[in-house]
């Protein structure tokens, strides 16, 4: 049975602690992949929007309590049914963040590297478009909701799952 843990929290996370947890829970793992998403200071819109890049001063993350955890559990289960994972870990922060802050952590452990890499990428692709989180950016010109990128929806297609 694979170990999996999901957390939605306001507080920051410590990558090192999460790595040691994965190593400990995974047993005889040969490969561990950790992904972290950070708040970028310069936010470029999609090329077709013809906007100047904005300097981000802050980011507020809203979510749908209850549904978020349910979605992340489902995404983790999907990854576990697709790859022979020994352990998975997802942390997503909510609330107010500033540039260079950590937003999200996805960690996967497996016997071999390809499963760990593919599952981590799959978890991020699904999390980006299927889990109910919304980002609002604060710039010098005011606040606005980040619009979803078509490229993120397209990315899911590569997993060829119809669900």
């Amino acid at each position: 049975m694979s170990w999996s843990q999901i957390t939605v929290q306001e507080s920051d996370f410590n990558l090192s602690e999460q790595y040691e947890l994965l190593r400990q829970k995974a047993g005889d793992a040969g490969a561990i992949v950790l992904f972290t998403g950070l708040v970028r200071e310069v936010y470029s819109m999609e090329p077709d929007r013809k906007c100047q890049p904005a300097t981000v001063q802050g980011l507020t993350l809203e979510h749908y309590p209850g549904m978020t955890e349910k979605c992340l559990q489902e995404i983790a289960q999907k990854a576990n049914s697709r790859w022979p994972l020994l352990a998975t870990r997802i942390i997503h922060r909510i609330g107010m963040l500033v540039p260079s802050d950590q937003i999200v952590l996805v960690g996967t452990a497996s016997a071999h590297r390809s499963a760990a890499f593919d599952a981590a990428q799959f978890l991020m692709d699904y999390l980006k478009t299927r889990a109910p989180f919304w980002k609002k950016q604060q710039t010098l010109k005011g606040s606005h909701w980040v619009e979803s990128r078509q490229s993120d929806s397209d990315t899911i297609k590569r997993w060829q799952l119809h669900d």
Partner: protein
């Protein structure tokens, strides 16, 4: 009674995060509910007719407009997700 939640830009446009609604029929579709809310609420009409994508979840699962809505359900309206 139906509990309706709004999130992100939809929440701001609706000027509230949730509301309760008595269903006029025992069961209706999500599409029927959207039409009902558009008739009753100018804010909702604006959101719905803005042309921006509007997503719906019933009992915390994403559904399409043909999905049934029953008394006691939790319905949520929101824009496409932008987490990660």
């Amino acid at each position: 009674m139906l509990e309706i939640h709004y999130f992100a830009s939809v929440r701001e446009a609706m000027q509230r995060s949730k509301q309760q609604l008595s269903l006029p029929e025992a069961t209706m579709t999500v599409g029927g509910l959207v039409e009902l809310l558009s008739r009753q609420d100018a804010c909702f009409k604006n959101v719905y007719e803005s042309g921006k994508p509007l997503l719906v979840a019933v009992n915390q699962t994403m559904v399409d407009s043909t999905h049934p809505v029953c008394d006691g359900d939790e319905v949520a309206f929101f824009p496409p997700m932008t987490g990660g």
